[in-house]
Symmetry: D2
Subunit: 359 residues, 4 copies
């Protein structure tokens, strides 16, 4: 099947090029009777929108979401819920010079190779603008998760070599939105902002890591053996532009532990069974066990530099490219709501799927 849909029972299809008329998303499978809070959706969009601070692109998009189907008198109908986001700031002429250029580490060359045609205006479909549609859909998924009291939080845990030293359990995650880089530790946040700003001034860019936490997820989500919960989270995260890695629970560091260090002992806590440690990251055998699910996503530095670069054009001629304009020196702050959205989509989908586990 074509690649623009995600999820099985709570299923989204996103569409739109960055410089076309609009981008948007159809959610098929949203249960009926869910109250839709437009303010909440917009608030999520605002966390992702460009121009929100001096360390993001200064491109201006209001990113207003318009629901054109699936909602009636403020509630979902059980029919496809469609959201549109118009592309306001489309400056055609800016992009004419990219028509025949393959920008390094962008999707220009591969789209050309695959489709024989591409919308060269700002990346077209390959632009990270597409993730705005994911955030809109994720906001709806989050409304479902709220019904189950599942909380979902992400934050920036590293920018370049500046990284949080504390475990998420030692942090006050309510502070994430208190600074423009979305790191819940103020001191680290300031260093991250300084680093991004330095990159910005040099026309350079920097990558980093986002940590995601899913709290109060019921035991029993995940569909072995291929739709293990972590497998779908991994796919969700790696489908985000610039993501280059995913780990959950003990992750790559867990490879350094022995089994006796790594195993999570089961214990009783009141009437519940929990684990003393949580190296499993809340998932065992591909199924949630009721403990916190936590994971990291690695993002490479943004490919759009404001420095001179060598590359080739469509004719295969080697050229020098010097891009200008308004670009993100670091994608991390704006990617936090995207990571949350993708995680919300995965969990909402698996919640619906889990209804069929038992007779």
């Amino acid at each position: 099947m074509p690649g623009n849909s995600f999820g099985q029972l709570f299923r989204i299809t996103t569409f739109g090029e960055s410089h076309g008329e609009a981008i948007g998303v159809v959610i098929d499978g949203c249960p009926a009777g869910l109250k839709i809070e437009m303010d909440f959706i917009q608030q999520e969009m605002d966390r992702r929108k460009p121009g929100q601070s001096f360390i993001t692109t200064q491109r201006k998009e209001s990113d207003r979401v318009k629901i054109i189907s699936g909602v009636f008198n403020g509630k979902t109908l059980g029919t496809p819920l469609t959201m549109l986001i118009e592309n306001k700031e489309v400056r055609e002429k800016d992009y004419e010079n990219l028509k025949s250029t393959f920008r390094p580490s962008h999707a220009d060359y591969t789209y050309h190779a695959k489709y024989g045609i591409r919308d060269y205006r700002g990346g077209g479909r390959s632009s990270a603008r597409e993730t705005a549609a994911r955030v809109a859909a994720g906001a709806v998924a989050k409304m479902i998760l709220k019904k189950w009291k599942i909380a979902l939080l992400a934050f920036v845990s590293a920018v370049g070599n500046v990284s949080l030293k504390k475990d998420y359990r030692q942090l006050n995650l309510k502070l994430t939105e208190k600074n423009i880089v979305r790191c819940p530790d103020r001191e680290t946040a300031e260093k991250m902002i300084a680093l991004i700003d330095k990159m910005r001034r040099n026309g350079n860019t920097v990558g980093g890591k986002i940590t995601g936490i899913i709290q109060n997820c019921p035991a029993g989500l995940g569909e072995p053996v291929f739709d293990k919960l972590q497998a779908n989270l991994a796919k969700a995260m790696l489908s985000i532009n610039a993501a280059h890695g995913f780990e959950y629970g003990s992750g790559f560091a867990g490879t350094l532990m022995t089994g006796s260090e790594h195993n999570d002992e089961f214990i009783r806590k009141g009437s519940k069974i929990i684990t003393r440690t949580n190296n499993s990251g809340g998932i065992q055998g591909g199924i949630s066990n009721g403990m916190d699910i936590y994971f990291n996503v690695a993002f490479k530095p943004v490919a759009t530099l404001l420095q001179k670069q060598k590359t080739v054009n469509v004719s295969g001629k080697e050229i020098t490219l010097h891009m200008k304009g308004r670009h993100d020196p670091c994608v991390l702050p704006r990617a936090v709501p995207v990571v949350e959205a993708m995680a919300a989509l995965v969990i909402a989908d698996h919640l619906l799927q889990s209804k069929s586990s038992k007779i």
Copy 2:
């Protein structure tokens, strides 16, 4: 959809519990006319089978593959290709004590929570035995890839804190199968073997990393935006038992680079366009660019220890568990063909999907 199928056009469905009659796989969508080499399939199975060396479990399974449909006169019919692998060594009594126990960091508790019933004999469906079916299917996928001259190689790059220092391009990957740990550097391999043996003697276990390489993959594979090639590789790898992390190209280390260091400059090489460096890991915008695809998979240490552990039983009572028997002190050597199989399935599927990209 239920979770036992993987792939869209080259689609496998695996089945079977570790201690049931048999495990197996149905491949639906295998193109007709492919010559099936049974020897090759069996050779792949032998790389995964238990008892192959002193650092793997001493459980004995011949893992003979029997094709019961989809092949006629040695060639695929285009109909479902079904392979069965009998479970020979099933000792029912060994597992009686696990009936009511939730083994730490296994799937016992979560299967119980999800399904209300489980096959407690050796993990049932959650056992890594299921991956034998993947290797069989992967062998068929590899035969397709051979037609396109795509090579697919994996090797153990770390066991606990013993890791390969060289980049894969500095190694002779033909040496991978020359030692029992499947590390192409002899010296490192010996250290790995020693470490695993030490663990084995202590009744402990250890994790590690496997690196996978896909060479000569044509440009144009991958279906943006959700079925990006790396997203499906990530899902494939995280669906393997004990896998806790995935990274491709520059991966987590890429978060420490600046954009100007990370970007892969396009250059001409004869009539082809290639990149000078390959931090992109052969994939840009979710689509292969013709360069090597390479990735790492992190595996946690095996959860089955031969040491005493605390846990709880089905009634929630805290107990002490002391498992015996024949288990892998390290899953890595036997997971190499599994990683290759999953990668082969992803690439074969995307090859077929790519046929519809252009009019």
Copy 3:
């Protein structure tokens, strides 16, 4: 998976309620490089639009299609192609009386039972207005079929008890669009029109049959055993509002023949193999054989009457309903392009699927 998508590789998702802001469709999987003729799409829409003659509803909708993604410089990008059709004539107050009424033989009761909520304005999602989105998508599918020189034609073969006596091979199918009922035999068409007009004047409605023909379809389309070509055509047709039956080839009449009468003898015609008769309707074993594919679809009479009817309301109270307004006395003339669209979607999808049959 939720029910608003159709097709595997050429996959559409329709959305929108009849009295919401807009209806529309996302096509995912349309191959890149297809030239999009807007005039042709609009022409197809006009064949379905209301108000086109005195035997259809007098409701006014211009049904202008706007493409908002997936097309660049007049060609498809290989990305999701989204088409929007605004709902112009939305008179909210007209529908207030339907809020609590279950109209006989409509979807009011079942949507209420399933979702617990419904958009009662003109049927909402259950309205045949949804089929406008299918026609738009079908027009794109037809452009693909043209590349393969596949022709696709449908016509009205019966209205109530007035039916075409001739076989489609005896008719000049170019005459279909020459009259308002879309029956290629002028004399029969006139009788059909008279019957519909009589129904209209009585506030009553009438059903009928549509015949579809697919010419020049290559041999080899269809995916046994469940995605047989006729199975997907049957599903496509039965998904159209008011459709109650489907038959292909000899159909129900074929049950009266013996095997020796029914079997289609293979013969040579130049270098091709064809069949002397075509009771198989161009499909054998679920796969096209190169002969004409032909089928009939039965449509029940429209459920919206302008006569008094008994029914119950949401509270279960028995009431008398007297609907007014502008409605179709017969759905057949406007359903012809819908039947064609659904057939085109099936064939285009199977064309893409057939690319993977052989190695």
Copy 4:
């Protein structure tokens, strides 16, 4: 996706050629905890098996079902449930003459055209033998339906020109299994048997109709707009070998009614809302309304004749074919359990899907 799977949440994949080692089915998505009654499964198989009376083929197959995964201690595990049926009576030499012949109205030519290779022994994958796997899976689906007290009955309503004159509501459906043709009216059954016997003696074949009834189906099943309940039933039925038509509710005869005759008035019956008539066939807007679902399936006469026929061979040469052996003169009696199985699969799948309709 390849065509050997059916259903979304209760999903089957069948495999096997008629003269291969075995045929079988994997059910993925069967809820855990269902008690499996092997006797019932076998009883269903016996209704379909060859050799059950003098009006069916005299081919001998015991069709014993063996469950090799997914069931533990008599209950489903929620993991893939796999059933195998060995092909016992495989006489290779019988089929050598079919190697290069395209039998009229069989799938020989189309499989050849599509795949370039075929298993010519008895039809291979295109043989109706594949439906045995469907009956096995359908038996499991029926066990689920029993939990909801949904009854599912089919019977032969026509053989050639001998047809039941009574409506199903006037018949005692418990009599269906009392005669070898599976028609619940004894007098009609005798005429049908006589007709089939006459055909058999002439080496000829005859078609007919099967009527299916689904009773006590809850309101709310079906996923508009493409997965309407009738659309999936139509697909299910048209995927059965030799099926050429499907109609539900008023069907093709409904095209002769006016809207005022056809509409089903809603009435109160105790606390329930029912319809006075049931021309809708229990489905409105693609969703079940709680009334009986009923439908007819048309079957063409069996293509295998024991008379001389003209045809062409693989080289395109015109030849005369004279088949011998043991074949069904009429497929109807053995197709009854297949129709029931396919209906059961559709309903079970939609039952599971309906769990996600509301928040």
